[in-house]
């Protein structure tokens, strides 16, 4: 019997029991729909993140953190060098990273947490952190208005996120905010750039040697000019500023006696006591001392750029060998995809169970069909059908159930993704992102869902088909 005839025959047989076939196909369809949506969601989200990252060159970036433990990567990335198992990120390290093959540049990053609020035109908003970075083109931002921080920028230049601009009432006309001044208020104890450090109160001749108590330092107001509005993503309460300025903010300054001055003072005091003469040792000499945050803790993070996306993974590994934590965008995308993975696991579970139940349905349908067609099988055998032919007929029939269910499932899945994309586009549009059709149905996905459904149908048909082929033709012909 020709294979095409077997297929035609199988389809004819399915048509004979329309309702039963339709119900079985429907069961397969439910499973196939779940699996379709699951796969579409995962691949769609993946390509969405990849396109988002590649749009601003992030795929070529490697984030370098003082935290070598990847699980605590973000912690190390934001918290400076103050953690266990951390490596201090220094300028010496930058030189080493730059020497790694395929690295075409490194941007250093420092965050300042000493600011409390940012005020425009009297509206005071909370400020989480100030982010300073080398404006050498390696770290870029999605600009909604104005320009990014440039290398030539000095202290007092910032970009703000759209969150701030929105709250200050500039939604839709961000450019009106450009070149406007804002006031940034520091926390208590701020002694960095811009703060006025008072000389400690005069003390008696013997009580000298103390200095300022940094905690006593009152808040300072720093003034800055907005040069750009960036898409803040999930970090809305952030202000970006030139690296040097943020370094200055992180510097702790106080009046102290130097060791030499202290010795001189002590010597003068002793001389006065020994001479038993009225003596004036003079006021303790105070010097303004700076404690550079960088020397103490290192940078908060580096971002290295590789020449080509395909070298990102190997370069990341090479940088890790320097003893720092490093991650390329792909591994970050993986983290971002976690929520989608959970959704897809749930859908996959439903789909898997549905397909299992559908497979049982196919077995049931086929066993029923064999009972009904026992006599027909006998006639087929008498007319010269081999066991193999009978087996093929029923296997193909079961596969056809799977195939049709799979095709219907893909169609239903396609319809659902159209709806889902509309909803997601509306959501993204609301948050200022261009509308993307996140969920896509690539051809390979359609083919594999239909393929899997067909395979399940075929496997479910194996046992019934085997039973049919084993029927004794004489008994089958007598079967009532």
């Amino acid at each position: 019997m020709k294979f095409t005839d077997i297929i035609i025959q199988a389809l004819k047989n399915l048509k004979r029991q329309k309702l039963r076939s339709a119900l079985t196909i429907f069961a397969v369809m439910i499973g196939a729909t779940s699996v379709t949506i699951m796969l579409a969601l995962v691949t769609g989200a993946q390509s969405f993140f990849v396109s988002q990252f590649s749009a601003n060159g992030t795929l070529q970036q490697i984030a370098i953190s003082s935290q070598t433990d990847l699980a605590k990567f973000d912690q190390g990335n934001n918290g400076g060098g103050s953690c266990d198992s951390c490596v201090k990120l220094t300028d010496a390290l930058v030189t080493k990273i730059k020497a790694v093959p395929h690295v075409i540049g490194v941007a250093r990053r420092v965050s300042g947490g000493s600011l409390e609020s940012v005020t425009y035109n009297g509206t005071k908003l909370r400020l989480q952190q100030v982010e300073g970075y080398d404006a050498n083109g390696i770290l870029t931002n999605t600009m909604l208005a104005g320009r990014d921080i440039a290398e030539a920028d000095k202290d007092g230049v910032i970009t703000i996120t759209s969150d701030y601009a929105d709250k200050w009432g500039f939604k839709g006309h961000y450019s009106d905010l450009l070149n406007k001044p804002v006031q940034m208020l520091t926390r208590n104890g701020y002694s960095g750039v811009g703060a006025t450090i008072a000389l400690p109160p005069q003390q008696g001749p013997d009580g000298g040697g103390g200095g300022n108590d940094p905690q006593q330092q009152p808040p300072t107001t720093l003034t800055a000019t907005i040069v750009g509005i960036v898409d803040g993503g999930d970090r809305g309460e952030t202000v970006r500023a030139p690296l040097a300025w943020v370094n200055g903010m992180n510097t702790q300054r106080m009046y102290q006696m130097t060791d030499a001055d202290r010795k001189a003072q002590d010597a003068a005091n002793r001389a006065c006591q020994n001479n038993h003469t009225p003596c004036q040792p003079g006021q303790p000499k105070m010097t303004l001392v700076s404690q550079d945050f960088l020397t103490q803790n290192g940078y908060n993070g580096f971002t290295a750029k590789v020449d080509d996306v395909k070298n990102a993974a190997t370069t990341t590994a090479a940088i890790k060998k320097l003893g720092v934590g490093a991650a390329d965008a792909q591994s970050l995308i993986k983290q971002q995809l976690q929520i989608f993975n959970i959704i897809s696991l749930v859908l996959g579970g439903i789909g898997g169970i549905a397909l299992l139940v559908a497979a049982i349905g196919v077995v049931n349908t086929m066993v029923m069909a064999i009972l009904e067609r026992t006599r027909e099988i006998g006639v087929l055998r008498a007319c010269g059908a081999t066991r193999a032919t009978i087996r093929s007929l029923f296997t193909i029939e079961a596969s056809a159930l799977g195939f049709l269910g799979g095709a219907a499932g893909v169609a239903a899945g396609y319809g659902l993704t159209l709806v889902a994309n509309r909803i997601i586009n509306a959501q993204l549009g609301g948050s200022g992102l261009a509308a993307h059709n996140i969920i896509t149905l690539p051809l390979w996905l359609i083919a594999s869902v239909i393929g899997i459904a067909t395979l399940i149908g075929m496997l479910a048909g194996l046992y019934p088909a085997f039973r049919a082929s084993r029927l004794n033709p004489i008994d089958a012909l007598r079967y009532e």
Binding site: R16, V379, C383, G384, T386, I474
Partner: protein, 228 residues
């Protein structure tokens, strides 16, 4: 010179076990059938007539002995060989017609041709020819339910003829028909025999058996020549 045998059974035995009882359907049967013979197999029900016909037709295999058809031993043949043998050399006609109710007469007749792997045009042409031969040229697209009993049996004969078999085995072909229709069917089958097809009819109708050139009667698995 004696004509060489078409079918040669040598010491064929076949037992059936029903419950504790062993039934000797065929006990050490030897017989030979020449090409073009018209044989009637008679005997009471359960005597083993059907078993004999099924073994000759390649639907069943003996427990022991050999069944040689044109030199090949059916007793040793595998499923594929037996299937090809049934498809090419044998045409079965059943008492209950065994037509596929969802098929038209033409589709029913095309079945053995489809199984043989014949092409679309060829199978249709041959099926039309066969239906024409049995006098149903005007009933080709009718379904079995739209046909009378006699017409149904004609369709079943046309189906048996599809692959130009050398042997037609008819198991009680007139059993479900009234005597007039039964006579028509017997005339048709006898005509086919005259064209050279070996005809084996299982019957307990003596009217039918009378038309045969040779009668074999079976009692408890033993075959006797002539009427019992």
């Amino acid at each position: 010179m004696p004509q060489p045998a078409l079918i040669e059974l040598k010491s064929v035995s076949k037992d059936y076990t029903i419950g504790d009882e062993t039934l000797h359907a065929l006990a050490n049967v030897s017989l030979s059938i020449k090409p073009g013979e018209f044989i009637a197999i008679t005997g009471p029900s359960g005597s083993g007539k059907s078993t004999l016909a099924n073994i000759i037709g390649g639907l069943d295999k003996p427990d022991s002995g050999s069944v040689e058809v044109e030199g090949a031993d059916l007793a040793k043949a595998g499923d594929r060989q037996l299937s090809v043998y049934r498809n090419k050399h044998i045409g079965f006609v059943f008492q209950a017609f065994n037509l596929q109710p969802t098929y038209t007469a033409l589709e029913n007749v095309m079945l053995p041709l489809v199984l043989a792997g014949a092409g679309g045009k060829e199978r249709k042409a041959r099926a039309q020819e066969c239906l024409n031969d049995v006098g149903l040229a005007d009933r080709m697209s009718h379904r079995p339910t739209q046909l009378s009993g006699g017409q149904r049996q004609r369709v079943s004969i046309a189906r048996a003829l599809a692959n130009k078999p050398s042997i037609i085995i008819a198991d009680e072909p007139t059993g479900n028909l009234d005597s007039a229709k039964g006579r028509e069917i017997m005339t048709l089958l006898a005509g086919l025999n005259k064209q050279g097809i070996t005809l084996i009819i299982i019957t307990h109708d003596m009217e039918v058996a009378k038309q045969a050139s040779r009668v074999l009667s079976i009692h408890d698995g033993a075959v006797k020549e002539g009427r019992s």
